[in-house]
Each structure stands twice: as structure tokens, then as C-alpha cells.
């Protein structure tokens, strides 16, 4: 099962394909989380004052 593919096998094909997929999904998630966290911090800022 690991990493999140039902018929996962430890060979180059799976490692390259899923590795690149998770890399790009990670980049997208990082961008989204960064924007969300920054928004949250900016929204909290006036309350601190």
C-alpha cells in the first residue's frame, strides 16, 4: 500500500512516477498553506494591537 498506491512496488517506475507526483503536489500544498497561514497571521494582527 505504502506510499498511497494500492499495488505499490519498490521499483524505479513507481519511485520516479509517484515521487514526481508527490513533489509537485507538495509544492502546490506548500503554496496554498503558505497563503493560508499568511492570511491567518494578517487577520490576527489587528487583534494583537
Amino acid at each position: 500500500m505504502f506510499p498511497f498506491v494500492f499495488e505499490w512496488t519498490w521499483d524505479a517506475g513507481y519511485l520516479i512516477f509517484m515521487g514526481l507526483l508527490y513533489l509537485v503536489l507538495g509544492v502546490i500544498a506548500f503554496g496554498l498553506i503558505y497563503a493560508l497561514v499568511k492570511t491567518w497571521l494578517q487577520l490576527r494582527a489587528p487583534h494583537r494591537k
Binding site: F17, V27, I28
Partner: protein, 425 residues
Amino acid sequence: MDLALIPNGVQRCSLKRFLPWMLLWSLVVAWGLVSAFLCFYKGLNQTNMNHYFAFGLWITFDLSLIALGAGAFFTGFLTHIIGKEDLKAIINAAVVIGFICYSAAIAMLGVDIGQPLRGWFIFWHANVHSMLTEVSFCITAYLGVLTIEYLPLIFSNRKLNEIREFSIFGDNLHRTMAVFAAAGTFLSFFHQGSLGGLFGVLFARPFAFREGFLIWPWTFFLFILSSIAAGPSFTLLCVWVAKKVTGKELVKRGVFNMLAKISGWLLTAYIILKILDTISWAYGVVPRAGLSFMDFYEGPYGIWLMIAEIGIFGIIPAIILITPRLRERNGLLIIGALMNITGIALNRFAFTIQTLTIPVMPFDVFMSYFPTWQEWGIALGAVGYGILLFSLSYRYLPLFPQEAELNPVKVLGKAVTDSGLVQRR
């Protein structure tokens, strides 16, 4: 009635004129929905697809939409990563067009697979050696990227922007856009290529089969190049049609010239490589398969199709778009862009339909295929959906940052200088 939603500094037609326009395209969408319902309820026997034609009109439309939607990733790449500032005038429209193309393509695929409830199988039981798996992963992830790219524009709506959370989140997403543009470029590069690659690896179908570089057949690279050649032309054409329908200048003429120039040079490179590919196929793959060149051109899919694809809708638009004197003439600019996208759509048609029509077994015969009204309904429903979403986006969102400057609104004879548009830096 909806004045509060319309961006400041720009004029839109009255709701009385807008609603019939929307109704017209809603009817086309309704035709698509009825067709989709019939396909879900009664099955794919509602189509003229069969064991010969596992791919039909929908896949042709899908491949064309995905190629034409490449304007979004390529314009995003040029704007956010290369830093072509002039394209900022058109990037919002390119994103909306890309979103429409990809969401429509995925919706059509949802019907095409016949059992959409099992659509997740391709993700869970991933065959990592399949080009189609790569396409499925990439187009789904890229639709997510396009949605993220669309969000800041939606949050720029006058009313939504008054909500502080949306406004700040939209700004922050916009500032992070280079990250999403880079991810989108990566995903697009591979799925555009793999769409070509999945035909190029069909060893048993000599019409589509190609040799190539490592695991990638030449069609992989040709599909990437053709999509980035057609995408900017399609964006140009959509904006031009919007300009004609609205009667307003939406972007400066220089932006059209730049898109046409980019499109033209990429098309030129593509056509040269496509001609070389066709020659090497005709003298390599074809004789090795024990066939002759003309064996592939029979019935309704004659040699005219190749002449049209490469000659008329390939070489001619390339010449028009790369020649400054020609592309500066409005009529020729639009003809060039239209011919460019027609050529690419013909290419996708040839790979999807013509590949399947040619006999591969001694007992096979030359087949032809014509879609049913349900198939047309879903394909045209996608077009209707696109026009609806683009119309709504144009009406309620600041789609064209240069519009207010190019069409100053006069109040009591004086131009209003404060456009009030949300300008994201």
C-alpha cells in the same frame, strides 16, 4: 439590479440584454445535460462509439480543449517565471479560458468513461507505465492549480473583495502565483506530452506509432510544441471575440501582436518538426509495417486531411503570424489565429479518429464514424458552459486590467479617472 457586483470604472450591458444571452447558452448546456443524463441512465449505447471507435468525438474535443487551454500555463509561465510584463494584461483571461477548457474536458471524460463512480480507479490502481495514467493525474492536478489561479480573480469581485478574509487571501495567493505557475508548467508539460505519447506508443497501429527519445515517442514532443503554439492563439481569438461582442477595447493592440508572434514562431518550429516527423514516418514506420503511404488515406479520411492539417492550417498561419506586416492587419491576425487552432484540432482529430479507422487486421475494413446527437450535445454543451462562465467572469470580475483605461467612463462629459479596479501588484 446587479450594479453592485460590476467592477468600478467599467461599463457592462444591462441585465435585460445580458440575460437572453445567458439563456441562449444555457439552452446549449441543457442539451448537454440531457445527453449526459441519457448516457448515465441508458449507457454508452447512446453514442456511435463501438469496439472500433473506443475514442470518438469527446476525446477529439478533449484533446483539442486541452491543447487550446495550454494558453493558460504558457502565458502563466511567460508572465510569472520569465517576467513578460506585457502579458499581465491578458493573464486573467488566459486563466479563465484554461479553467474552462480543463474543467469541460474532465466533465466530458466523466461521461466518456461510462462509469464515473469508478473514475477513482485510475488514481488508486495507478499503472505507472501508462501514459494515460500520467495524463489523468496531471490534468486533475492541473485543474486544481487553475482553480487556485482563478481564486484571486474571483475574490477581486467588488462585493467579495469587501470581505477582508477573501481580500487578504486573494492577495496572498496572488503573491505566491509564481509557485503555482511553476507547478502548472511542470504538470502541463507532461500531460500535453503524454497525450501525444499515448498514441505514439501504439505499436500495433502504424498510423500513430513513432520512434523517439528514450521512453518518449516523437509525438510526445510534438504535442507539447503544438499545444503551446495553439494556446496563445486561442486566448487571442477568445479575447478578440469578446472585444467584438462587447464592442470595447479590452487589451492594447500590442498584446495581440505579442501573442501572435509567440504563437507564430512556436507554430513554425512545430510545423518544421511535424513535416520532418511525417517524412521519417513515411520512409520508416510505414514500410516496416509492410504498408504504403496511401494505405492510410481512404474513404472520408483521405490525403486531403494531411494537406489541410500541415499545409493549409499549418504553414499558412505560421507565415501570417511570424510576418509583422501581416499580423498587424486585424483580419489576417484573426484568420492566422483561427487557422492555427483549426490545424491543431485537425491534428488531434487525425490521431484520435483516423488512427482507429485504419484496418490493422487482414479481416478488418476501413471504418468511418459519425457522432450521435447525444455526443454532439455533450461536446457543444461544453462550449456553452465555457461561454457562460467567460461571460459571467467578464461581467463581474476585473478580467482585463487595461479595460478601464482603454474605455474611460464619462460622467457629465468628464472621464472618470479612478477606475476603482482591484489592481494586484
